[in-house]
């Protein structure tokens, strides 16, 4: 079945229906791993300064779609794509795209916190250094600003030389977000950012996302449907490579139009 995503905000009771401009647009996007088609004619809009959640069972293609948004899939040799993903009006799959510059604008946070085995300071300064920032005062400013944006500065300001690997899981994940923020991206892609964290740490990262979305556009892949319901404004439900339904989160979780979405979010799938 090829149910087209309905970006329909006309349903009654959708008071938060004001949509901003598109930051990322996925247009008729197919992705193949060799002969296996992992994404089938996916079309959707990621709206600026909103959190868009992608949900669906394992193997539905949600992480593949997320990774396609900053061309992380390029690292896999057998990957082939058709269609477009448009960032601020430009197709990121166009041959002229500078992939490194793209990944600076569209950064990713992973499932397991993956700080470098370096100090807290050097973790955050890594990106800016790689992009050519050398002077100590400038780096220090970026590190402070980035750590503040993830609410780690007050805790860690006297321990910036500590090994990042000694931090708690939640702090490590915050540090990874700070490392990303340090290169001033525009879009944050989060692939199961809380699945290695306990419930309280999860809530803290969710709260952080609410703060970050004032400045960034966020796309999150999550297995936790309640998390999608809590943090996102838009939700897409994927199944076997299809984007079955896409719309306002509050509508998807109260009045989904597709039976497959209904079955999945009410715990009847499988």
């Amino acid at each position: 079945m090829t149910a087209k995503p309905t970006v329909n905000v006309s349903s009654s009771g959708s008071s938060t229906a004001l949509r901003g401009p598109a930051k990322l647009e996925v247009k008729d996007f197919d992705l193949f791993y060799g002969s296996f088609q992992a994404l089938k004619k996916v079309s959707m809009q990621v709206t600026e300064r909103r959190i868009t959640a992608l949900i669906g069972p394992s193997g539905c293609g949600k992480s593949t779609l997320l990774r396609a948004m900053n061309r992380m899939n390029d690292l896999i040799p057998s990957v082939r794509t058709t269609g477009e993903i448009v960032l601020d009006g430009k197709n990121i799959y166009a041959p002229a795209t500078d992939v490194e510059a793209l990944r600076k604008r569209v950064g990713m946070v992973f499932q397991r916190p993956n700080p470098f085995p370096l100090s807290v300071f050097d973790n955050v300064a890594y990106g800016p250094r790689a992009h050519g920032l050398r002077n100590r005062a400038g780096l220090r400013d970026v590190v402070e600003k980035s750590l503040r944006s993830v609410d780690l500065w007050d805790t860690l300001k006297d321990d910036l030389d500590d090994d990042a690997l000694t931090l708690s899981g939640e702090q490590q994940q915050r540090l990874c977000i700070a490392r990303l923020v340090a290169v001033e991206p525009e879009v944050l892609l989060m692939d199961e950012p809380c699945s290695a964290l306990d419930p309280i740490a999860t809530m803290k990262v969710e709260e952080l996302m609410q703060k970050l979305v004032e400045q960034y556009t966020i796309v999150i892949v999550t297995h936790n449907m309640q998390q999608a319901a809590r943090v996102s404004q838009d939700t897409g439900f994927m199944l076997l490579g299809d984007l079955v339904e896409f719309g306002l989160t509050e509508r998807i979780f109260t009045r989904p139009t597709e039976k497959k979405t209904e079955d999945y979010i009410s715990g009847r799938y499988g």
Binding site: T254, R255, S266, G270
Partner: protein, 223 residues
């Protein structure tokens, strides 16, 4: 609708549905009793019916408790969420209908003490219609039948028309002979209570449509 992966949730949903059905059955029975007590001038039945809504009230509390528990523990979504939240609303309508049955029985006790004003013909007819609406609304709700619910909304007019008819007829009695006023007003109250039962049935029918279609049909003329 297929089953939940988590079976306990299905059991709770069924328990909630069963409680609502049981409540509705009791309300129907009490309404029948109240009207029969009036029409057959059965004072014994009338008095018994005035104190008979305790089990309905208890069921209301049980439905509330179960629904809140399910929201807290099961994080329902989509249709399950709509079922539980609408159950919380219609339980109030059902409880009110139970109160109205008691009100009718109280009127019957007073009316039965006096000489019968006139043969009761339209009142039992109205009661039958109102009860049928309530039954159909509940059926539509538990079966997710939007068509049946829509027919309830349409048929409410019949009950309203019967009320107007009964009201007019009783006014003529009162104008002709002021000694009928007490009894006529008593009967008008009974008719008004039945008209309210039908209104509660339409509330339930509206919730049934929301449950089935996710579409709010309340107050459409006001927006």
């Amino acid at each position: 609708m297929s089953d939940h992966i988590f079976k306990q949730f299905d059991k709770e949903l069924k328990a909630l549905k069963d409680k609502l059905l049981l409540m509705a059955a009791k309300v129907e029975e009490r309404l029948s009793d109240a009207i029969r007590a009036l029409v057959q001038r059965d004072q014994e039945l009338a008095k018994r019916t005035t104190e008979s809504d305790r089990d309905i009230n208890r069921l209301e509390m049980e439905v509330d408790e179960l629904a809140v528990k399910m929201i807290a523990l099961r994080q329902p979504a989509a249709r399950d969420l709509r079922f539980i939240t609408t159950a919380l609303k219609i339980v109030t309508d059902l409880e009110r209908c139970g109160d109205l049955a008691v009100n009718i029985a109280e009127r019957a006790v007073a009316l039965n003490e006096d000489e019968q004003l006139k043969p009761y013909i339209d009142l039992p007819k109205m009661a039958g219609e109102a009860q049928q609406l309530l039954k159909d609304a509940l059926d539509a709700f538990v079966n997710g039948d939007a068509d049946k619910a829509t027919s309830v909304l349409e048929r409410d007019q019949m009950v309203d028309d019967l009320f107007v008819q009964i009201f007019r007829e009783l006014i003529t009695y009162m104008m002709q002979d002021p000694r009928t006023i007490t009894r006529a007003i008593g009967l008008i109250f009974v008719a008004k209570h039945l008209e309210r039962v039908a209104d509660h049935a339409t509330n339930i029918a509206e919730q049934a449509i929301f449950l089935a279609k996710g579409k709010d049909v309340r107050h459409v003329h006001t927006t």
